[in-house]
Amino acid sequence: MGIHLPSLLPQMQEFGQALYERSLELSATIPKAIKALHLTAELDHSDLQSKIKKAGNRWTGAIPTGETLNLTFPSPATPQSLHVIGADGSQIYPDRHAAAFYYLINIGSIVVSHGSGEAPTIQQESKLFYKLEDLYDEAGHPVQNAYVNLRRDVAEMKTLAERAESLASEQTLAILDNSLLLWMALQTGGSTSRETDRTLQQYLKLLDRLHSSEAGLAGFIDRPRSVSVLALIHLAGLPNDQITQDTVRLTPFRGLTDRAIFTKLLPPGHRSALFISASPLNRDFRTAGHEVHFFYLKTDADDTVVRVEIPTWVAQDPELLNRVHAGILQDCQTTGGFPYTLVRAHELAVIPPQERAAFEEMLQRTLLGHGLRPTQSQKALTKQLTGQRKQHRL
């Protein structure tokens, strides 16, 4: 019958107090972290690289590039005309309690041609997965939600690649509402690993296509919780002989995020220095020529700091890097620091409850039309029955 609010009241008080105390502690830590960043920036590049090497393969901090770590970079000139492509996806997960075992992926995308005055072109693509090879791995296990997320991420990138190819001779920027690194590939787990690897290779080939189209490409991460730059400045402060698996983990900046320090450091419109993600997954990307770099960007005057991920071919091309930087800022102007194209791509991709209900009704009619009796599990039925009961509120 829902949450027992009376028992939560005292916990809520404690929660509020704890959040307040933590915010005081973190506020005191931010200046120390910024000072540590400045000190790290003064270190010799080769010294820093040797510390990173010593931290080992499991260290997941930010690897510096040639740019000075504590420098900030103002917005380049806004291009006269720029096509910005946004793509986002949503899904209906496989549900063993539903009338049929399937999953659905829905991708929304938009191309806004800044400076044209023309209405953007929009696209929605829904795909139903119901074949045995879609639903079961080679060992016969049913697909997990993480694998559906992986397929969705690939479908989003495929849409970006297709739309970028259709604009190949134009100035184009493709923005993904997600990390470029296919994190889900690490989370799909054992039994589907071969299929996961195949999917990762497909994803990398799509990045090849985007590279060939000469579009700029960026993964946009709003309100990032990443601590990779903090991990770097912690590592930089450790004496070489004290760098071990344990000491690199014992950070004095626990609870703080990179975003907190760059919110203080970056003026509006500025980006941070470029870094390389030290994630193990990035090794596959590096091998394929798409090693993921990132920077932080303050997208508006209200302290919105986002993480922008770019492949190596954008990071190493000043024109493409500037296009990503200025293009994202231009696309964020009317939407409070979040790109307009992603707002709209999300709106096109999302499956509202009423549309989901209409789809399920269509599915039931189809099953009946083929002489099949659609039945939900007893658990799903009883959930519907009890879910309709309304609790009286005082």
Partner: protein, 200 residues
């Protein structure tokens, strides 16, 4: 008035006294206040005749956020007007129906069903339908509608559907019928007749 019927939306809500249609905005297809439309009912055996009395565009928080800005890029305005899934809703008062025997100026036997297509009424059909004036009573009896303005506009549009030489005669006949119906309410009658005269 378009020469042939044009689809202007689909039914989203309906009842015997009228129906509500929705569509994505397109200036060509936008129905006008006081115009006649038709929607299929009874499995195609009849068509309900509706008179458009309200056109509304639903807002949302995103539209409000953009509207509050000093300057909105033209691409985003065009996106909001042409692409976004925010339908224009229009409401129509049922003023009659059409079946094998022709037009009838009374409430329809059944309303159209959800998602039935709604078409603008072709000028020829509008002339046929408004050759009788019983539908004026239905308009005058409609509660909570801008009845006087609706009636004036509907008659003016019906006059325009006719050849120029017939318009004045049509409006005079319509005015006489309105005078008969509103004999007890001279203030309203005067307003409506003034409206008809002014817009002739």
């Amino acid at each position: 008035m378009p020469e042939s019927p044009m689809m202007i939306g689909r039914v989203t809500r309906c009842g015997t006294r009228g129906f509500v249609g929705a569509m994505q905005i397109s200036e060509n297809a936008l129905p006008v206040f006081g115009s006649l439309c038709q929607s299929e009912a009874q499995g195609g055996r009849s068509h309900v005749v509706g008179l458009v009395y309200d056109i509304s565009i639903t807002d949302d928080q995103f539209a409000r956020q953009l509207a509050a800005l000093d300057e909105v890029p033209q691409e985003q305005i065009a996106d909001g007007q042409l692409n976004r899934q925010v339908p224009v809703e229009f409401s129509a008062l049922a003023v009659g129906f059409n079946d094998d025997e022709g037009f009838h100026q009374s409430l329809p036997p059944q309303p159209p069903l959800t998602l039935a297509s709604i078409y603008s009424m072709a000028p020829g059909d509008a002339v046929d339908f408004t050759s009788q004036f019983h539908f004026l009573q239905t308009i005058l009896n409609a509660p909570q509608l801008p009845v006087d303005e609706l009636l004036t506009t509907a008659l003016r549009l019906s006059a325009q559907a006719r050849p120029e030489e017939e318009r004045e005669r049509f409006l005079l006949q319509a005015g006489r019928e309105v005078a008969r119906l509103l004999a007890q309410d001279l203030t309203r009658l005067e307003n409506i007749l003034r409206g008809l005269h002014a817009k002739e």
